[in-house]
């Protein structure tokens, strides 16, 4: 899946004298052809060319450097407007500016169309200068361990799981961008006694060795709720206190009868179902959470962006950034090169083959 081909950047003017030429240059973008039913394919998008256009007062022109592809996008595609580019998080470089807050060469983060170039207003939603990253990480970390997926892990573990030292924690999707961090935070920041991950066969050993999970269960091997429950019981003989769920399916359902009193369940993703055209049927389990007084909380990262009036990003960058910079927290990027591979990179998410955060290097 990794491609090394690089897009020739010959249409890009990167010095001030040639800015006036940008307006007549071309850009490319991936527009959504149809709202997919089931698994999307590369044909779900169309690569189109268009003029970049002129930038107005207050605007900036940015060039995409890294495009993020994330599971949450799948839900958006179901209802996103067609014939318009799909939008996701990007790290981009300002190549022309008529906004005095941004200058040429600034790196920014914003939610942008899947396009090589984008003209932006200075107050565009989510637009921010890339600051606060440790010196020894690549800017693409702003899309992963030190960006939205990182905050999803950090906010969920901190605010929902509220792990006490010695507790037993389960994380599904243990080799993914969010799960790998959630497991490490449970152990390093909150001193969990045992952290159990679930992932697919080829990533079991990696998750154990590299991310430090105490136990990792291969969900392909324990492929029914009953088998998964027996294995979870074996590795968590004292019951489970907290569960960080990215995936849904057998792990999630095996756990309902294994929770200790006052267990917490953070529901951040259910990727195993995202391409189902119908909701799957499962056994009802709400009766199981009454006597164990379990808390189940759906959430998205932005729910905890501001807590009691205080923006949490600086605390996140301080706490997690320092662990990342020092190498105590491990993270991986699966870099797929070439803007033209953006849809393919997105589809990789649903093949269960990736370790860490998938980004497209434009």
């Amino acid at each position: 899946m990794q491609r090394t081909k690089r897009i020739a950047a010959h249409i890009v003017a990167t010095n001030k004298t040639s800015y006036h030429t940008m307006s007549n240059s071309k850009t490319q973008s991936f527009t959504l052809l149809e709202n997919p039913q089931g698994l999307p394919t590369e044909q779900t998008w169309k690569l189109v060319s268009s003029d970049i256009g002129t930038i107005q007062d207050d605007q900036v022109l940015v060039k995409a450097l890294y495009i993020s592809v994330d599971p949450y996008l799948r839900n958006r595609l179901a209802t996103a407007p067609t014939n318009q580019p799909t939008v996701s998080g990007q790290v981009a470089e300002v190549v022309e500016s008529k906004n005095n807050k941004y200058k040429t060469g600034d790196l920014i983060f914003a939610y942008l169309p899947w396009a090589r170039y984008t003209v932006l207003k200075g107050n565009e939603q989510g637009l921010q200068k890339l600051t606060g990253l440790p010196n020894n990480v690549n800017p693409s970390a702003a899309l992963g361990v030190l960006g939205m997926p990182g905050m999803t892990a950090y906010f969920g573990v901190k605010n929902i799981l509220q792990i006490k030292p010695g507790e037993t924690v389960v994380v599904s999707g243990a080799a993914g961008a969010v799960g790998s961090l959630a497991g490490q935070l449970a152990k390093q920041l909150y001193k969990a006694g045992k952290v159990i991950g679930t992932t697919s066969t080829d990533k079991v050993e990696y998750a154990k060795q590299h991310y430090g999970f105490d136990e990792v269960i291969d969900y392909k091997k324990f492929d029914t709720i009953e088998k998964m429950r027996a294995e979870l019981k074996r590795v968590a003989p004292n019951g489970v206190d907290a569960y960080y769920d990215n995936v849904g399916g057998t792990v999630t359902h095996a756990l309902w009868s294994l929770y200790n009193k006052y267990a917490r369940v953070a529901i951040c993703g259910q990727i195993s179902y995202y391409n189902n055209t119908q909701l799957p049927t499962v056994q009802e389990w709400l009766g199981k959470i009454i006597y164990s007084s379990v808390l189940v909380k759906g959430f998205v990262w932005s729910d905890y962006l501001v807590v009691d009036g205080v923006n949490q990003v600086p605390t996140f960058l301080k706490e997690v950034g320092s662990l990342v910079a020092s190498g105590k927290i491990k993270f991986d990027e699966h870099v797929i090169e070439g803007f033209e591979n953006t849809p393919k990179a997105f589809l990789t998410l649903f093949q269960g083959g990736n370790i860490g955060k998938i980004v497209v290097k434009v």
Copy 2:
């Protein structure tokens, strides 16, 4: 179902001079013959006679006045020891005491065997003198609106639903002991904008008129998830902010797609499933609570008995007791007379016919 036959109390000595005779007197109890699969029947229990026995130092002998039958008992029966009496909450009178904390004539609350008489240690779990009830309510209220069911409603609404003025609230089992109070508290203490109940056909009008629900949906009429959802949408056009669930089934599942951001769901009972021999299959819904950031919380009343080190019963009796005493909060008791009808009274819970709290008047 109501019986007016009273048990002759000729074996009961109620004055001090005859206490010594109690030891040789007989009592009756209902012992569990088998752990029921599916719906229990009257043959699930056996009525047995035995000697009361002598009371020792520190002990008291109590005579059952009111026996509580509650949905939660159904789950206990599945694993309760057989050939022993079923245990539930009771209001009883001290008829003999060798414990200086209790004297003859004291009314007490305790979790006691289904028996006419019980010998108790002074420190028996849950044993407490009946105090703090308003003067104008019958002591049986300690089993209902001012007892465990009342606290279940109050603690769940207060601690989990955390209703803000104007919000839309749904309560299943709206005519039951817990649901009828939960709905009234939502409106009177927390100023909910709209409180919607669900119950069966014959209780719809009563719940509306007597308990003040703004809308009451007949779950027998809207008997699929789709029909129930359409009706809920009609009566809650602005979405639902909080749900107090005693029942499970179609109401619970219709709601997953109707929640507003940050909705709260208190799971206190799932009575519609208690007699299923297998868990029912339902459509998976965890994916629905991610973007709406819904909180789902299983609980039992005792979870909130002590909050931050402070026992909450006095606050409960003050807040709810005063509303009950003044008649602002309505409650009903369905009194079934005669100790011998205790199993029958319990089975009434699963027939959907009762309004308010079912108690056996011994």
